[in-house]
């Protein structure tokens, strides 16, 4: 059973992501409403993939990627970044910091499911 951590400060957005991934087999999800909460989740339970929003109140998504990639135990967790249109300049930065994939909102639910599924398989 793969545990997917969905990180976004909007509860509606989190629900949308979780529902998009609903059809995937052997997958369950956990939610976090901020960067700090996401890192806390990592500390407490095993996480197999993160779907991460960039623009969040306490800790920017980029910092979360930074932190995660610098940590031995979490270095290899696949990260899919979701962010609003018009911030594509951060695309290169996110990928450079170690995000695996980058999708813009509004996202295609099937595409998200495909991306997540293929990242999980590869690991």
């Amino acid at each position: 059973m793969n545990n997917i951590l969905v990180v976004d400060d909007s509860p509606t957005m989190r629900r949308m992501v979780i529902t998009s991934l609903g059809a995937l087999r052997s997958v369950k999800s956990t939610q976090a409403g901020s960067g700090l909460e996401a890192i806390e989740r990592l500390a407490i339970e095993p996480v197999d993939l993160m779907v991460l929003d960039l623009n969040m109140p306490d800790m920017h998504g980029m910092e979360v990627i930074d932190f995660v990639r610098k940590h031995q135990a979490y270095r290899d967790i696949p990260i899919v970044v979701l962010t609003t249109k018009g911030e594509e300049s951060s695309r290169r930065e996110a990928l450079a910091k170690g995000a695996n994939r980058y999708l813009t909102k509004p996202f295609d639910p099937r595409q998200l499911a495909d991306v997540v599924s293929s990242l999980l398989k590869a690991n």
């Binding site: 509606t12 957005m13 960067g35 890192i39 806390e40 500390a43 407490i44 800790m59 249109k85």
Partner: protein, 633 residues
Amino acid sequence: MDTPNPDNHGEFFDQFLDDYYAECDEHLVSIRRALVTLEDAGTVDRALLDNLFRSFHTLKGISGMVGLAAAEQLAHHLESYLRELRDGTLTLNKPGFEALVAGVSLLEGVINARRNDQSIPSIDEIAVRLQAVSSEQTTSEVAKNDVAPMRWLVEFTPTAELAERGVNVNSVRARLQELGQLVQAKPVVKGAGEIAFEFIVATDADETAFATFEADGLTFKPAPVEFVPQPRDTQPVPTIAPASVVRVDLDRLDELMRIIGELVISRTRLEDQLTELKRTTPPATWRSLQETSQSMGRQLRDLRESVMRVRMVQIGEIFERMTFVVRDLARESGKKIIVQLSGGETEIDKFLVERMMDPLMHLVRNAVSHGLETVAEREAQGKRSEGVLSLSAMTVGERIVIKIADDGRGIDRNVVVERARARGISQENSEIDDEALLDLICTPGFSTRDEADRESGRGVGMDVVKKATEELGGRVSLVTKVGEGTTFTIELPLTLAIAEALIVSVNGQRFAVPQSAVREVLEVESASTSVLENNEIISYRGKVLPLLRLARVFEMNYQRETSFHVLVLGEETNAVGLAVDRILGQREIVVRAIKDPLAQSKGIAGATELGDQRVVLILDTSALRQLAITSKH
């Protein structure tokens, strides 16, 4: 025109519309609150601006997801403007503020238009306005947050056990924010690779404030003096701490209430059966059964009250929304209005809030648009230039009484009567009392002005106000005086579900009378009644008490008994005695509404069932009193 975004996979995201609207509402309320603070305060607080920025950013994102392009774009413009304000490249000035307010109102309007399936208003004008204010370049000083004297470094290592106890990064952050100003919150990696969080909090409190921390796995020490500022976008800004709140579907609460209702009935049935057992059971056994049943009764009552409390919200929330609306209207019309609030902590069932929000809002809008005069008109009358709108709430027994009062023009009876006549609604003359006046105003098809202003489009008129209130088992009443003002009073039952009631028998039929309506119960001999002006009366506490016989009001057959009971209903000044043949007992009943018009009747407030599957009608005592007055044959 809002054309659907071909990229938006509309159908998939439609299932989230309810969540979307709920989240929009939350953001809009906090945006409104922030705008009011900005308007009132002299200085500009950067944290506030950042919160505003963040709200617009989120609204932009989720509006894009559900395909509401107008909202997405408008939120985008607002977000851009806020970014500049927050970063200090622009100062907030009057035209800017007004553009902001107009933008937010329009955003609300766009979302509501989608919600109500109406055509989406154009955002072009506001978009241009916002871009215009954004392009002014002025340097400014952003108010810096004061740095409190002493800083502490608090370290928190999360674990699964702590999380289970509710000690997690959010709750720790909330606690620290209560102590003082949270200056930093970041994750760190400790020696063996575990993750911990470091918080720097600036507070005047001394060490004792941190006393409970150790027990929760937190350590603290004075913070090192140098403090490395982080890059701008990620500067930790003290946000409003997310309280431990759970969002619950009202449906789930309704289900809980329904189940509790069934439990109440089952327990009542149990009591009845126990009574029957008394004869044939050894006393000690019976007594212990009885005790168990009674403690269950108490526990049920506690359970019921707890669930009710979950459903209760403070009416202050509605009052707050009303205040925003009043400010908007006042600004637009140039009137000066002071809003006086009282009783905002009064709690009211959330269900009632949802049903009454629009009607109450309508009354407020009326008061501001039609009731209160302009500054010039008021001064000409010798009134203070600011109009006063007072919103108050209080509980009286099992009812909540909400008053919306203005000190404006008052309602002119003559105008109303004329209009009613012109519309063929009624032939009354101008001598009508307040109650009849209210009836006229609430007749469908009546309106006191040609509606070209905003209120009309929302489908709420005075007739809807009356209907919505009465459907909930409530009452509307009105007091008005020309030149002095108008007060609308809305009474609603506090609890919809369960009430104490007296079960009575009248002409062979059982009825339930809500306990809260009964002031006293009397036993009366037929011989002691007299007749005064075609009404039966008895003597009660030195005064005359008119009797009300259901048989007359409900057109049933009746026989006179030699003695009967009287339930005294109403206040001192207008008490009435309801004559009943027998009192069968006092019970807790589950109140059920009668929704279908075929079975609705004036004088009947609802129905209940006493455990034997047979329906017992609940009397509407205030309606009965009115009926008694009108049916004097």
